[in-house]
């Protein structure tokens, strides 16, 4: 029997035996022994934390939550190598979580601010590259951003498209409202279209205006019920706008 099959057998035993029983404990020990020999199991080389303690915590964590793992996998019918891969993936996530816990308990950060950017970027620290100080300040503008009147970008193209609505998709998407609001149901004879509350108008006020209007304010201004506008926007307007924007993202820029 190969290693993967043996691992699956151990897991099946674990699943089928009562916690605390000798068979269950034996299977637990076997599982840990197996895990220690798999090369894919992550071990942290950071000397600032006690990595052995982290691994012990992780083993315990895995055993404690193994029932959850069984919910995510069909042990009997999944190929043994896949069972191994998924178990190790879960275990590595637990290891990382325990590592993080260890850093947190010691008040340390896993990622140093003085670390090199990456192996192929030499020994410069990322601090050398931060040139956006003050970016958050509303009054300061980052010098590398182009001026408003110069921008010919996907953003401005998309905004222009919405303002122009060349295909009429947005203007032709509008709600119907009840004429007699007391009347139950949505009989066609009691419904009237509201083309003035079309998706172009709403999109402009919700997404192009700074600051954006709220839907309730738009409803009030246009004399339509909040609920009618909200339902229409959620069901038809927003999906249409998302579709337009998504497709726009894949077009070559003008």
């Amino acid at each position: 029997m190969d290693t993967d099959e043996k691992l699956r057998e151990i897991l099946i035993t674990l699943r089928g035996t009562h916690a605390g029983s000798p068979q269950h404990q034996q299977a637990q020990n076997q599982l840990i022994k197996f895990l220690t020999q798999f090369p894919d199991v992550k071990k942290n080389p950071d000397t600032r934390i006690d990595c052995e303690a982290v691994m012990q915590e992780a083993y315990l964590g895995l055993l404690k939550t193994i029932k959850g793992f069984f919910l995510t996998i069909d042990l009997d019918n999944t190929p043994a190598p896949e069972v191994r891969v998924r178990l190790i993936k879960r275990f590595n996530r637990i290891v990382k979580n325990k590592e993080f816990d260890e850093y947190r308990k010691q008040g340390k950060q896993p990622f140093s601010l003085d670390n090199p950017l990456s192996e192929d970027e030499g020994n410069d620290t990322y601090l050398d590259f931060v040139t956006y100080e003050g970016f958050i300040d509303e009054n300061s503008q980052p010098s590398n951003l182009p001026p408003d009147d110069f921008v010919q970008s996907i953003g401005s193209n998309l905004w222009q498209y919405i303002n122009a609505d060349p295909e009429g998709k947005l203007q032709n998407c509008y709600p119907k409202e009840k004429i007699d609001k007391e009347c139950q149901g949505n009989q066609p004879e009691n419904m009237r279209p509201r083309p003035d509350v079309n998706c172009q108008v709403i999109a402009q006020r919700l997404h192009l205006k700074e600051p954006p209007d709220k839907l309730s304010k738009i409803a009030e201004d246009l004399g339509i019920s909040d609920q009618t506008l909200y339902s229409h926007w959620k069901r038809s307007g927003l999906p249409l706008l998302r579709q337009i924007a998504r497709n726009f993202g894949y077009q070559p820029e003008a």
């Binding site: 990322y126 953003g155 905004w159 069901r235 993202g249």
Partner: protein, 277 residues
Amino acid sequence: MNNTEQYFLEIPLNQNAHQCALKFAQEQATKHKGKQVYLNTLAVYAVNYFLEWAEWETNLDQSDSWNPGLRALFNVADLVIPDIGKLECRAVTEGETVIYLPPEVREEKIAYIGVLLPEKLDKAKLLGFIPAAEIDEEISEITLESLQPIEQLSDYFFLLEERTPFFQRLIKEYLDSCEEDDKVMLKVAEILRETPLDKIVTKLESIYHNVPQDDWRIEGGKALAKSSSGGMTSQNRDKVLGSPLGGNIDSDVEAELSLLAEEWLEKLADFFRRDNG
């Protein structure tokens, strides 16, 4: 959060992060929008950095925040975690006490993460997260105090990972039990097939957490019906529910959805009890 929990994970924002944020910002129509995109990109970058370190796969290319058109129009900072769902990574600047959730980000999310971006933008601090199921969908702000520690995020993901097959099984059981001549069941089955699984899970969990058990049937039914309409085009919706825009869902279908939702919520309660026990 009390004083003993005031540890926040810090993520270095290196040159790559800033280059990416700048590139995205330069695509925008106005400087105001550019700044918004810049900060959103850094927030997503920081969460992605942490999750990759924590051995969770992410998919930036499937995220709205990485789609040039969607980020140019919407205030999005999402990150897709394959097989689990979408996170929303909201940037918070110094002095802010709440996370603002624009309407366009309040759907189909598994959790919201608060990411503090100090003025110098040399690092990001992960302030915590809140599962989407624990807040009302209409809510527009989350207080920072209500966030759960970021170290619990992996456990939450494990739970979601375990719950997905749980709901898949429930749905499959229902679909298998459908009889060919039962129009109501067939309609319900079609709704279930058309609705993204993570939407069903999130909606029902939200009810589990926020609604008294006595109201599970009615609220659960409404949620399943809403999930389907929100996730479909109007044409699909008309085809499935047989009613025009905003029309009433067939009352028999609604009743069936309500009973189903109640049954599933009771099973979900058992699932949680077993998990905690």
